[in-house]
Symmetry: D3
Subunit: 247 residues, 6 copies
């Protein structure tokens, strides 16, 4: 059961409203790397993750992300609170949809659950979460770099920080399972090609820890599969030797 | 510059075609966790990643994923090669769109680049890639579990294995940067809330490495932000005390 | 700031798990008329609605909808808890994505913020909300009709009931503004065509309160606009009289 | 069967073409609140609504909305008819896709049927239509506010007016069924929680007609559901007490 | 200006309703190759095509396609008119969304304007239309193959026929411009690589009219571009020789 | 099996980086008419096309299109390589997502497989490909028109040229089947309405090769279908004569 307090986690009070910057902020409200993605991803995972401790962690963080979404929304509302005729073509999204946040990204694309990565296995879920935190952190850094309003920047700094906190928590959880540096999980053991590495993009090749021992590096990989059976298309025209016939 | 050899990496030759299973296989051709997502994600990253070695690795793996996409496509083509009237309502997607693979998932949803996670920073990219490999591996395990055709299962086993290989490679690269178990990256240092953990979902609480020391656990978090300014909506009706007035 | 209690609003305890019915339930988790749509629509509105009372109402209801989303998710998790090989082709979505809820509808389409209707004016918002409640109620009725598990049905009955409650609340709020039966709102008065009704679909015509007085019914409407200027396409080929020339 | 007359309902003749404003106008051609949404929503409803009079009304209005879509399209074609090099970055959408209307909104997002709300019950449909009219009217007001071309503004004024007319018609139809101010519809009676209202968002609480009598206001709602069964995930790792073990 | 007659172009009267087949029929109502795609594509083109004759043709055909959409909708409405409990899991889409047509395809994916291909040049538009007709025709053939109801099949046969008629019309128009067998159009002449053909997919190579004279066939193409400058990413970490360093 | 050489087909070396132009270029990287659409469309077709020669052609061209995608990506990477604070609101997409290409179009909409047209029949596929080439060529012309950097323009000229080459190849292949100017294909013969042409959009009518002989032109088409059965909606309210009753 959800509950809500109208006060925010930390103060949100924009100094100088700037509708253009408000449009950029939408990236973290209704964008791919935004707070809604994080909140819903972790929360949906909590329905199938069976480890009680990790489930609790997922829910704790999900609820915090909802509260962050609220803070980003408050920033956008304040940045668009002086919207006027001069802003029409600088921040057109608010000219037509109205001021305040909407569930679209900074380009006006509607948020989609296709951004979410989860399902079936807790290791997969936690790895997806570290990735999500990385994306969110990166966008906050971009926003901070382009932000000229100090009170806004302070909120963004806090939100960026929390992504690091959450990444750390997910790493700790994966580490406790021994899955932070072990790619294996699930119930299927790999076959005997697991240590082979192929040099498939040739030119300016480099070697590093990802293709040296224990990996076996194949410098000039060749197909081993032969030609699979030609397609049989019961819907298609009777075919055969059109090319030759036409020639 | 891309090149192509019509032979496949390993043999792809289905034993008993089953259009229903072919529809499930679409999940790895045109689905969120499928080979197209992986191929394009790594390849797009290669355009902005500046470390020459990691860029080479991303391209090597991307090209392999394209080759895997081809193998999944061949499996689907063969599984639908005997499609007939009896399959119409069991695998309706092929009844209308024709046999062979299409760029949709097993539910018929078109592939979208919203599945892709990349941009701005190599650490973020590599974390996204470990997550992508986790999702792909998980779906292959699900497919293997429901697969009754041994030659198909062997191909799936190889494809699952390679996801582990790639995850291992990405981990090695992250490890070489010291970023496998360190959440920090980029140019912004966290603020002083980085070690705080909030118990926001209450009941059945658990403690673990993710909310014990060095984390500072706040059992009953309270808002510190006060009430942000009420919204000002230049587009809205003059408002005020409707509730009280109406009452 | 959001808070969460792990207990649910009312008991959620499925009698006989049925993965197929679980797939139908997704319609109210990640579907157009589902709880996520309602929760986010009302909550996003609360950022720009300036009337303090209505804003409070929107937030109260939004939080309840999040709690309902949780209950639907719990139902799905329980209905898929016995998922086995026999369910693979009956509820394929869980076979590949894993058990428990996902943010897709019963056909596997990802939730999108395009479902949401809000912005710019509180009257518009409240009308959108009555519509949203109508859609949600309708889907719950459909689910109840096809539900064979009594404990599930009892939860669905409660959820359906609450949509009625919320619709009633939105109606009361609109009524307090005098906008329940008055189409006018905003700052632009209609022009003098406001009472004209056109009979544009001819045959089997009917008259009713919607096209009788005060409406003025035009039985055989004619265009009054003449031919607008022909298109000028600076990108196109020089054109002119192709048809005549070719003839 | 559809028919078409090339003349428009009322004159459409732009005074001073402005490609930037043309891009804003796309919101009502291929956007969420635009004429295509309205036209298709009402028309699709007409296939399942069984009341002959309301079906006729839906078709009459749908056909008018198609004619409005045409007028908006003509406005866009004329506003982009002088498109030149100076407009490239002011109205980039036309620089690449060509002049004239396209089925995208002002941000370039493709129109999607996810905007449509309909199905299963005529009361639900009519409520959805009042909401659709509200959204369309709101966007027209925004466009008028930013429009500097009088002939364009006159067309927009007419289109705004017609949304009010249609809203009025839908209200009359709902009123004739007694469903304008009665939330109940369909075949399922509500359970006994129908008059309870929860104060779930706390702080700055307000009372109004929506949470006073006949509603029963619960100021501090508590979960009554207990803890539902923990998830059982047949796909997941054997779990248990990771947190405690790790600790 | 649009007009509508409630009678259909030809009789639509299903013999034996079959909700499952109704779900397949959605492919031509709200699917990629369906009548809505055709109707809107041709109609949108008519706003920018400057040749008066071709514009008239586009509008004539667009209006017919709207009428076809109506006929497909009527078929779906009739095929779902006996929907009952037994159909719930055979045609689940109607169980939840209600009977009759909806703007989704047979898999439940919402129609999107991304299906539409148009803009900027009449030759491009007409080629897109021939392609659209080909797709529609192909889906009608698939539907006819799986259709057991003769009256339905007769309507489908007519609709398939009309796609051929339209394709013929578009071919005649292109032919009148000399663009049916000439790939050139627009204002930019090709460079001197226009006749080169590359053998980039090697193995099982074939020759035909598409890679014989006047084409110049390159059997083993080599890159001529050298290595473009390495990426410079102002957002990325200072990089350089990670691989070598780590090694 | 795919292979890759890091050198490009022809030199890609931007003279003066311009992030704004880079954003326009995204249209051919992640947009509807872009290289990814072409590459994947032809390649997916190759899985079901049974004629060996045409299959080989499809694969040859698909691989070239992947190489073109690479060249467009390199252009974008170079055009954004000097991205700085001044570019933030001119090319906002790169400010938030990072420099270099992303799989979105110039408006930031994610690439979707809904752009792809293929399936079931080789004639349909080839027609779709000629259409795809037309769209791609058109966008390249638009980009060239707005391009101020000569080295960039030279690459765009080559890419435009190759679309003509491919269109020519597809035309040759269709011609070899006799399907370039014959609308018929597949296994269903048209019914006897195939030569009728309807004048459904009235006013400013024109005649041309597309509606003269052998076509039979119907100047004032009338519905021949009568009124199909009124809808029966088992989900709807008992209906009947609401309009009359209410009157």
């Amino acid at each position: 059961m959800f509950l809500h307090r109208k006060e925010t986690i930390m103060p949100v009070s924009v100094g100088t409203p700037d509708a253009r910057f408000g449009q950029l902020l939408l990236e973290q409200f209704g964008g791919a790397t935004g707070e809604l993605t994080a909140a819903l991803q972790y929360w949906v995972q909590s329905f199938h993750v069976t480890d009680a401790g990790i489930r609790d962690m997922l829910q704790d963080i999900a609820i915090e992300e909802f509260s962050h979404l609220e803070m980003v929304g408050k920033l956008i509302a304040q940045h668009t609170s002086k919207f006027d005729q001069q802003d029409v073509y600088d921040a057109p999204l608010f000219a037509l949809k109205g001021v305040g946040p909407h569930l679209v990204d900074s380009c006006g694309s509607a948020w989609t659950a296709s951004y979410i990565n989860e399902g079936g296995n807790v290791v997969r879920d936690l790895r997806a979460n570290i990735a999500a935190e990385g994306g969110a952190r990166q966008t906050y850094e971009s926003l901070m770099k382009h932000c000229e309003d100090q009170p806004t920047k302070k909120v963004l700094h806090h939100l960026l920080t929390r992504e690091i906190t959450h990444a750390q928590m997910f790493m700790k959880a994966l580490g406790a399972m021994g899955k932070l540096d072990d790619p294996l999980f699930g119930t299927v053991a790999p076959d005997d090609t697991v240590n082979i590495v192929f040099n498939l993009s040739q030119g300016e090749d480099h070697r590093g820890p990802w293709n040296k021992k224990p990996f076996q590096y194949v410098t000039d990989p060749q197909p081993k599969g032969g030609f699979p059976p030609a397609p049989v298309n019961p819907d298609d025209e009777p075919a055969g030797s059109l090319a030759e016939a036409a020639a």
